[in-house]
């Protein structure tokens, strides 16, 4: 699909074209609101309950991570970026270390690449489970059916967190990846624990589908809501499940393989329609696909070292004098890119500039296009279907 060059009507100015029958009401949606997925604010201009114009406003969770990275050494950066996309920290660690490895020209051992792939896919499952739960909250409310879906999803996400805890000792902020490979090797019985956890999750996916995809109310609330066409998605730089739900078959795991993805076939889930329904279908299909990938890899982990770089003993040990690199990987939300310009800090121990390209940030840029014409209730559903994590949007 080619990127359309024609400039679209900027949605912010739809208000000028709109002749309201009555005065518009400006509803300040967030940042303190139960379903803005963190601290996100939307200014909604309403005609009755219909949205005429939507202005997203972000930055409430800005912590200056990129600037902070310029003051930290390469070794210290990994645990900091864990907190960017706080529901898939594994992806953040991997993305940042892949960039450093590319700068240094280090080959990651095959065993470490396998482990990274397994971690990435398990994390994708955990992230998609969390998305399903919070999306159901958006649809059904915290005191209602949504909460039931939410808690069931969290129950299964716990299994995955337990697996990570067994290997890394931490449940959220793992700090398990390092330059050149992994820090922690898997324990002897881990593969078996993974398989039994996967069996439980696999047996429960049909349950989720029966209370979401097979549910009439879910269908009514998501079908045809927030339609994003593939060309607009490409223009806005949207990647991941949202782009695939808009009919663009693009997945870095298959198109630019990293880790061990060149050794396993990834069946990329995609759907037509580009609405909230299609995005839900794609994410649930990815849940199944990740399950299949982990199951295939967990028994095939090769023997060998887990780190291809000399053991790190000092925070200022890794020195990169010059060079710049862009490296990208497919996180749960799309292309998670890292641009690093080396040569900062005293003795070249820090990056001169580090830029993180979070997929959620680009996903949110679709909001002004998607919201006008829908009801307030749909705004929540559309926002939920974009699966934004404000930690990585604001960084």
């Amino acid at each position: 699909m080619s990127v359309v060059k024609a400039k679209r009507q900027n949605p912010h100015f739809r208000l000028d074209l709109y002749e309201p029958e009555a005065d518009l009401m400006v509803l300040n949606f967030g940042p303190q609101h139960p379903s803005t997925h963190g601290v996100f604010r939307m200014q909604l201009h309403l005609d009755g309950e219909k949205i005429v114009k939507a202005v997203p406003d972000l930055g409430y969770l800005h912590r200056g991570v990129e600037k902070l990275c310029e003051r930290l050494t390469y070794v210290q950066i990994t645990p900091i970026v864990d907190k960017n996309d706080y529901v898939s920290p594994m992806h953040n660690e991997q993305a940042i270390n892949m960039a450093f490895e590319k700068l240094l020209g280090i080959e990651v051992p095959r065993r470490a690449r396998y482990l990274r792939t397994i971690f990435a896919e398990l994390q994708r499952m955990a992230s998609h489970l969390l998305w399903l739960g919070t999306f159901a909250l958006d649809l059904g409310g915290a005191i209602g059916g949504g909460a039931s879906v939410f808690l069931h999803c969290f129950r299964e996400r716990e299994l995955i967190l337990d697996l990570f805890e067994e290997v890394t000792g931490a449940r959220f902020h793992y700090n398990t990846h390092t330059i050149g490979g992994n820090r922690h090797d898997i324990t002897p019985g881990w593969a078996q624990s993974v398989k039994s956890a996967l069996a439980v999750i696999e047996s429960r996916i049909p349950e989720y589908e029966s209370i979401t995809l097979s549910n009439g109310i879910f269908f009514e609330r998501t079908k045809g809501i927030g339609v994003l066409d593939g060309e607009l998605a490409l223009e806005l730089g949207i990647t991941g499940p949202i782009l695939r739900a808009s009919g663009v078959d693009h997945d870095l795991r298959r198109d630019a393989p990293y880790h061990a993805y060149d050794e396993i076939e990834v069946k990329v889930a995609s759907a037509e329609g580009g609405d909230c329904w299609a995005r839900s279908v794609v994410r649930l299909a990815e849940l199944r696909e990740s399950l299949r990938i982990v199951r295939a890899l967990v028994d095939a982990v090769p023997e060998g070292p887990i780190c291809g770089y000399k053991p790190i003993k000092l925070v200022g040990q890794v020195k990169i004098p010059s060079g710049q690199v862009y490296s990208a990987m497919e996180s749960s939300r799309g292309e998670l890119g890292t641009y690093v310009i080396a040569g900062g800090g005293e003795g070249n121990v820090s990056p001169y500039r580090l830029k993180i390209r979070p997929p959620s940030f680009h996903a949110l840029s679709a909001l002004p296009y998607l919201l006008p014409g829908h009801m307030v209730a749909d705004a929540v559903v559309i926002l939920g279907s974009l699966d934004p994590i404000m930690g990585e949007v604001d960084r």
Binding site: L27, G140, G141, A142, G144, G145, S148, I211, R221, A377
Partner: protein
Amino acid sequence: MSGLLHGLLYGLPIITVVLTVTALGLWFERKFAARIQSRKGPTMVGPAGILQPLADVVKMLQKEQLTPASADRVLFELAPILCGAFAVATAAVVPFSPTVVAADLDIGVLYVLAVNALVLIPVWMGGWSSNNKFALIGAMRAVAQSVSYSVPMVLSALVPVILAGSMSLSDIVRYQAEHHWFALWPTIPGLPAFVLFFLSSLAEANRIPFDIPEAESELIAGITTEYTGMKFGLFYMAEYIHTVIASAVASVLFLGGWDGPFYPGLHWMVLKTLLLFASIYWVRWSLLRFRSDQLMTLCWKWLVPASLLLVMAAALFVKVGGGH
């Protein structure tokens, strides 16, 4: 004078019982929901957490009572009180057994429906006087929803009235005790009318999937956004009382009230009410929420025509079957 005495004699115990049942219902719902969600629910206060609602009320009484500076003070303060009062007032005519009824009105059905609809006014008062946009949208939705759903509710309540030939709730139960429960026979229109009445009651009591006036994922807390402490507690309690009474009225109109296969009496009424109450929570904790316009579509396109047909079917049944 004897009417007043009778009212006091039965009214006070009935209100006490209704409030107690409501508190137990709250506990029951929390346990029930917890089991659906693979949790344990309240366990700390009393055996199996049964005193949790009491602890909640004590907590809410201790909270600071805030009134927003820009709120319409009189309406704001009055709304929760009226809401609670109207919700309890419905209980007055519900016959819990042949003798336990506060006021056996000849037009009991009319009274129940009218007082049910009255709850709308304090809800709108609360939403309007809060001077909060979320509360206002919530109140607008509540009014639209309740007005719409009153229509199928009234029409489906007409079915037992036509079949029994009386508007007194006690007479309707007595007729069912002599013949059949209306939900069983005549199956058409009895059973669909029961389902319709129950659905509309859910919508009136703002229960999922019809709880859009306080859809907290969109409207934070809807009409109760600005309410704190016991003022919020009154709205909350009114909703639960509303649900209990709706279950009681539905079992009186369609499930034969105090009548049962053996030993008819109060216990059958309580059992049926609790079963309906539980099924409301079963629905509540397993379904997602409709959008407001979809709710209106459901009401006006499907429920209203269906209930009109049911009223006609009931009339036809009485005419052909040579009822009363």
